[in-house]
């Protein structure tokens, strides 16, 4: 008995991308989501704005699959970056040009522009890898298709030219601190890039391999956008698109157990006691939740060990401050919600903030990214704070939350002196809250750390890198699989392609 061609567990961006891909190829699909709305971690909210407040790398191919080809530049507003400086003369970064708010050019010798250009060049290369399954996942490395792709990638490396190729092969392995400070003086611009490289990560700017994260984040031409009508509206668009594609959506119900018979998937048992039957299940949750749903007896001992060893430490907290009115910035031109405010005055500052996280504390001088959002008639200042450990020493009690908020407010006072008086309400969402609400291990943004030993062929674990896991018919489509996190949807899309190929 079969109810659907495929069941997608989890309605985050990757679940949506996978479902839309399958459905557009004529498969009947159902999404099972425990929250009341689709959108997953990105759309997660309590009282205030959603967890994700900007769009980094939403892939055009995913948009096209969703039949949302009409999302155009009118619907997305590009966002400038304001690096908060202690002097009060902040730096505005727009299209890789950097200016002080009083109009002076920061990047007088053009080295920042050159650096960001280099990053986007590398990004194009990595994008090619991201839009496909990793090499060698067709069960054997020597499949013709893989070899062709490998050669094509080699060729595009070669086409960089000898010196550029050499540079790429070295840069991509470097730590972001050395990479930046080789070309830039340590200051707000270097601080900005090192903060961007390490956001969501449990690694500091001095950790080798962090240049990869930076390239990944700047992968699509350094363009940073927000949906013009707000993030919530954007997720509504996605949900509507999914419904238009005839994808069934069951919200507010947990997938309890993946039903397995004779080592093949038969369906999913839901928390309400019903069972949905299908021979194909795509799971977009983290691997530990997957392990629970499958049951350890259906996994190889080696697999369950690698799942246990996965590094999933969550390091980002969200603090939403509800304001009585908008503060006025005399020297910031244009709408204030078209800017993100970065507090990361130097690479050293970012590194120090990371240091405390290693020992189970958050830094008293935190690295944060903040945006202003308007919801109905409310004003919110919504901040992502980096290097806030899920395993806080002493646990996440009310006092710790209050303290985190105070630490943030104190550091933001550098650019909003009156901030404390403006706050009428606040909420602190810790990595643990994300974990609890969504079932994401450790509250990690990318489900598992995006370090060099957990990417590409090794993501999430070497044996699961083909989007396949455990019993026949079970697929992984969450951001713990290649290429990984950010609101991109490619993990889901790649997984769906894999399903289509196998069920042909």
């Amino acid at each position: 008995m079969i109810d659907y061609d495929a069941i997608v567990i989890g309605g985050g961006i990757n679940g949506i991308a996978a479902a839309s891909m399958l459905s557009s190829k004529g498969k009947s699909v159902v999404i099972i989501e425990q929250q009341s709305e689709l959108g997953g971690m990105a759309a997660h909210k309590r009282e205030g704005p959603t967890a994700a407040h900007l769009l980094w790398n939403l892939n055009p191919k995913v948009i096209k699959d969703l039949g949302l080809g009409s999302i155009s530049f009118d619907d997305l507003t590009s966002v400038d970056t304001i690096c908060v400086c202690e002097s009060g003369n902040h730096i505005r970064v727009k299209n890789s040009g950097a200016f002080y708010l009083d109009g002076r050019v920061v990047d007088t010798d053009g080295s920042f522009r050159k650096l960001t250009n280099r990053l986007s060049r590398y990004g194009v290369l990595l994008k090619k890898l991201a839009e496909n399954a990793p090499f060698g996942t067709d069960d054997k490395l020597n499949s013709t298709q893989d070899i062709l792709r490998l050669l094509r990638f080699g060729l595009s490396l070669k086409l960089l030219g000898k010196s550029q190729m050499r540079k790429f092969l070295q840069d991509i392995l470097m730590n972001v601190s050395d990479f930046l400070l080789d070309d830039l003086p340590d200051g707000p611009l270097a601080g900005l890039l090192s903060a961007d490289a390490t956001r969501g990560q449990f690694s500091g700017p001095r950790n080798p391999g962090t240049v990869f994260n930076l390239v990944y984040r700047y992968g699509h031409g350094c363009e940073l956008t927000r949906p013009t009508k707000g993030m919530e509206n954007f997720f509504e668009l996605l949900v509507n698109a999914i419904k238009k594609l005839n994808v069934d959506v069951k919200t507010h119900v947990r997938a309890e157990k993946i039903v397995i018979e004779e080592d093949a998937v038969k369906g999913v048992e839901l928390a309400d006691g019903t069972t949905v039957f299908s021979n194909t299940v795509l799971c977009s949750s983290g691997l530990n939740s997957m392990k629970k749903m499958v049951g350890i007896s259906y996994l190889d001992i080696e697999d369950s060990r690698s799942i246990k060893n996965l590094r999933t430490m969550g390091t980002t907290a969200k603090v939403n401050l509800k304001l009585s009115k908008l503060p006025i910035f005399e020297n910031i031109k244009g709408p204030i919600n078209d800017c993100r405010f970065i507090v990361a005055p130097s690479v050293d500052y970012v590194d120090n903030a990371f240091n405390s996280c290693k020992y189970g504390h958050f830094s008293q001088t935190p690295v944060s990214e903040s945006v202003f959002t308007f919801r109905q008639s409310e004003f919110w200042l919504s901040s992502i704070i980096q290097f806030v450990p899920s395993k806080l020493e002493g646990g996440w009690n009310e006092a710790a939350r209050e303290h985190l908020k105070q630490v943030l407010v104190h550091s933001l006072s550098a650019f909003i002196p009156s901030l404390n008086e403006l706050i009428v309400d606040f909420e602190v969402i810790t990595p643990n809250d994300f974990a609890e609400d969504l079932g994401v291990e450790g509250g990690n943004w990318h489900h598992s750390e995006m370090s060099l030993d957990q990417i590409f062929n090794l993501r999430p674990t070497p044996r699961f890198s083909a989007y396949r896991a455990g019993p026949k018919g079970l697929y992984l489509c969450g951001s713990s699989s290649h290429p990984g996190g950010d609101i991109m949807g490619l993990s889901g899309r790649n997984a769906a392609i894999r399903v289509l190929r196998n069920t042909k």
Binding site: S163, N175, G209, K358, Y359
Partner: protein, 545 residues
């Protein structure tokens, strides 16, 4: 002979790699001159007698990585080299316990079981995984790293060898290998073990000599760098050179001289003589000039090209890349003459592990904190120490009944922070003394009355090591062993074949592939490359060819 000014090749610096390169070239029939700035040879592989009756291996102190192929080719045993393997080691704790490490499998298993039965089982898997990686990497040590951007036949053939080796591993093994190479030693150990002390004991090898912490990606590979050696075929075994590490240099010198090589001590190089993009010879600080169409520098890449080559001889890109090469001083050294043998109260009388490497660190977090202090420009308050008393096995090191102790200390920054300024000049005698006090405090965990046994002590700060040995920042590897500086990226992308933009000028120090440690491989590889490309009728013969 004295008046001779022209040679076939000149090697600058008589470190072990310079001596190896020189010896191979001389053996192939070249007339070779080695110049050395100090009055003694050996670079960082030296035995010095700074206190009468005692001999210090005052830089490098133990031996394992030295390639046996080279020892055979250059007949080092014949010239007096004897390596004595040592047994095991231990980590001591503040509460009077210890974890001993034995090379005997069953003894080790029993010992680990004392702390965790699970870890005793896991050690099996751990050792297999590490050994597998050692076996994979060993053949690459005596080969050149291919330049992936080049289509020269020798690069292509090296690339083909790499691909073949990778392919032979099979998908699963290959993935494990990739993972191992990019991971941190802390994570790798966390995957296997639950006991902090065992993890701390094993983690040391992943950070020794580097500017990385135990949780910095890439440190698992550094572990390999300390495991891939062998003594008499025992992979991963370590030993002492009888008579101190200088014995290696001495044997190399004898072998070199046997092949009519000439050695000139006491004056360092001032400039490489370069005309029309070709090297012509060297000008020494004392005014002497020697000429040769081939000059091989044993100095690190920064020292060679930034200090001793006139800048106009080098392309802009190359200079920039050399400037960016990362060499970070992170370690210091104590050499101690001991009166009598100090007591280690927690260890049984005459325990075999006292003859091995001893440590006093109890957890990975302690090591990570030590690293954080180094990042901030301080030396670690609780430094990682790797201490040995070689005179127990090699009686030539100290008078009868007395002992010599060598203590490797990590982390100590090159640019020390005092107030708001960071500078190497802050390493004054008082601060060296203060550093030694921190170290002695740490040693006291294992050996509380160490201070009362000290007859003489040499404290070597990174600055002092730099000044005497010529290692930039006192870094023992002549450059960080991070993956952006390894293999084809070492030292500079495009120049991993020991050559430079100056025709005839080569480098053969540890800043080239495969990197640091008293290995000799960079020297041998450089010599092979030179003989292949620069000489028609002379060839490299022997095991390392």
């Amino acid at each position: 002979m004295e008046a001779k000014k022209s040679f076939d090749a000149i090697v600058v610096g008589a470190g072990h790699n310079g001596l190896v390169a020189g010896a191979y070239l001389a053996r192939a029939g070249m007339e070779v001159l080695i110049v050395e700035k100090n009055d003694w040879i050996g670079g960082a592989a030296v035995s010095r007698s700074l206190n009468e009756g005692w001999t210090y291996s005052n830089c490098s102190y133990v031996c394992s990585l030295f390639r046996r192929e080279i020892a055979r080719d250059l007949e080092l045993p014949k010239y007096g080299l004897q390596i004595i393997p040592y047994e095991g080691g231990a980590s001591f704790t503040r509460d009077g316990n210890y974890l001993a490490y034995y090379s005997d499998h069953y003894a080790l298993r029993r010992e680990i079981s004392r702390f965790s039965a699970r870890d005793a089982d896991a050690y099996q898997r751990y050792a297999t995984a590490v050994m597998r990686q050692c076996r994979f990497i060993r053949p690459f040590l005596l080969r050149n790293a291919p330049d992936p951007t080049s289509v020269r036949p020798r690069d292509l053939s090296e690339m083909a060898f790499l691909i073949k080796r990778g392919y032979e591993l099979g998908t699963k093994e290959l993935q494990d290998t990739m993972r191992f190479w990019t991971m941190s030693i802390g994570d790798f150990l966390d995957e296997h073990f639950e006991n902090d002390l065992l993890k701390a004991h094993l983690a040391g090898s992943g950070i020794i000599g580097t500017g990385l912490g135990v949780y910095s990606p890439g440190t698992a590979y550094v572990l390999l760098h300390h495991y891939m050696g062998d003594i008499d075929g025992g992979i991963g075994a370590w030993g002492f050179a009888r008579g101190g590490m200088g014995a290696i240099s001495e044997a190399l010198e004898n072998s070199f001289k046997h092949h009519n090589g000439r050695l000139q001590k006491g004056s360092g190089i001032d400039q490489f003589i370069i005309k029309n993009g070709k090297v012509k010879g060297v000008a020494l600080e004392n005014g002497d000039e020697f000429y040769a169409p081939l000059v091989i520098s044993n100095m690190d890449v920064k020292r060679t090209f930034l200090n001793h080559v006139k800048t106009e001889a080098l392309p802009e890109d190359f200079k920039k890349a050399v400037k960016r090469f990362k060499i970070r001083g992170s370690s210091a050294k104590l050499n101690i003459s001991l009166k009598g043998f100090p007591k280690f109260p927690s260890a049984p009388q005459n325990a075999s592990f006292l003859r091995g490497d001893m440590h006093c660190t109890e957890s990975l977090l302690e090591l990570e904190k030590a690293y954080d202090q180094w990042k901030a420009g301080e030396w670690s308050a609780n430094p990682y120490v790797d201490m040995l008393i070689p005179s127990q096995i090699d009686p030539t090191m100290a008078p009868k009944g007395d002992h010599m102790m060598t203590v490797f200390v990590q982390y100590a920054p090159y640019e020390l922070k005092v107030g708001n300024s960071r500078s190497a000049e802050h390493w004054t005698a008082e601060r060296c003394k203060a550093l030694s006090e921190s170290v002695l405090d740490q040693i006291s965990i294992a050996c509380p009355n160490i201070r009362s046994h000290i007859e003489h002590m040499e404290v070597r700060s990174p600055l002092e090591i730099e000044k005497e040995v010529g290692l930039t920042e006192g870094n023992i590897f002549q450059g960080e062993l991070t993956f952006d500086q390894l293999f084809f990226n070492r030292p500079i992308p495009g120049y991993s074949d020991y050559s430079s933009p100056v025709k005839g000028l080569y480098i053969c120090g540890s800043s080239t592939h495969p990197g640091g440690g008293v290995m000799g491989a960079p020297g041998a590889n450089a010599a092979r490359t030179i003989l292949q490309t620069q000489s028609k009728n002379m060839h490299m013969t022997g095991y390392a060819s």
